[in-house]
Symmetry: C2
Subunit: 150 residues, 2 copies
DNA sequence: AATAACTTGTGTGTATACCAATGGATTTTG
DNA sequence: CAAAATCCATTGGTATACACACAAGTTATT
């Protein structure tokens, strides 16, 4: 509990005790910054978000844009921009869904598949490089705890 | 090591083995999304980034804009926007540095101090709420490992 | 002292990321 | 079946976040 480390405090005392560098949010932001740097070093063709969308699309087959967004934890506005850019790069193709006129069915193009398969090993390596400061046991625990925070 | 879970693979096999939901980057993004939601629920006046900058400024006293950026892990372009918005809200004041004509010295205003002290306890609570899915021991480990990944 | 190298703040461009609103399509319900 | 509720894609707005380039100021080098 919070109270074990921070017993009831006046607002001022709480402010004194607030050290930014100890906050989860700040640490997660920094850890993520490091990961993004590692990613763009290894894969410069795609952003992590674009790769996530492409990978998920290769995993799922043909899905609607919003469904892909849900599968990758992006809201409608975000996934639209990502898909637009993937289409500009000819990695993803879209066709209207004959069963539902609202939907756009997305599929990886041949080039999309090729790129995904070509960079998947690198993506694995990026995950490993990101976790490299931890030993095997620590990596397992970290991923487990991270999953619990999801 | 990676090889314990993923022995040498052909590109296609690597693609098969690539499950987005197991990747560190994806998990960190989702954990961060959850944290941001908790934050904005508790503190709606400021974004996490703005609060981080304000908190660090209260911690450091008078520093230049770029120095504040370094202390909060934001690059020059990012910290500029953040500080601009904090100034618009009258939480931060800027004066030219007499010793270095390039620099702008930043300081929290009285309102900035007041707001920081008022929300610091809430910020602590947000950290706790974010970590709530973990028990005490897990929280300690998680923060430790997170720090190692920084 | 003059030049080079660096720092600081700023501006531009691109890419997430989310909220709110909208119009059209589909599903659910009364 | 008709109305309400929901879903879908899109748009506009705001806020990080980083890369790059730039001008002006400062420090280091020669």
């Amino acid at each position: 509990m919070m109270t074990s480390k921070t017993p009831p405090l006046s607002a001022t005392a709480a402010a004194d005790a607030y050290v930014l560098d100890d906050q989860v949010g700040f640490l997660m932001r920094r850890a993520n910054q490091r990961h993004l740097a590692i990613f763009s070093e290894g894969i410069s063709d795609l952003t992590p978000t674009q790769f996530a969308a492409l990978a998920k699309l290769c995993e799922l087959g043909a899905v609607s844009q919003n469904a892909l967004g849900r599968a990758t934890s992006m809201d409608g506005a975000t996934i639209k921009g990502v898909v637009d850019r993937l289409r500009l790069k000819d990695l993803v193709a879209s066709t209207p869904d004959p069963d539902d006129q609202r939907r756009i069915l997305l599929k990886p193009t041949a080039a999309g598949w090729d790129l995904f398969e070509a960079v998947a090993p690198t993506a694995h390596q990026i995950t490993q490089d990101t976790l490299a400061p931890l030993n095997d046991a620590e990596q397992t625990i970290f991923l487990l705890l991270l999953q619990k925070l999801t």
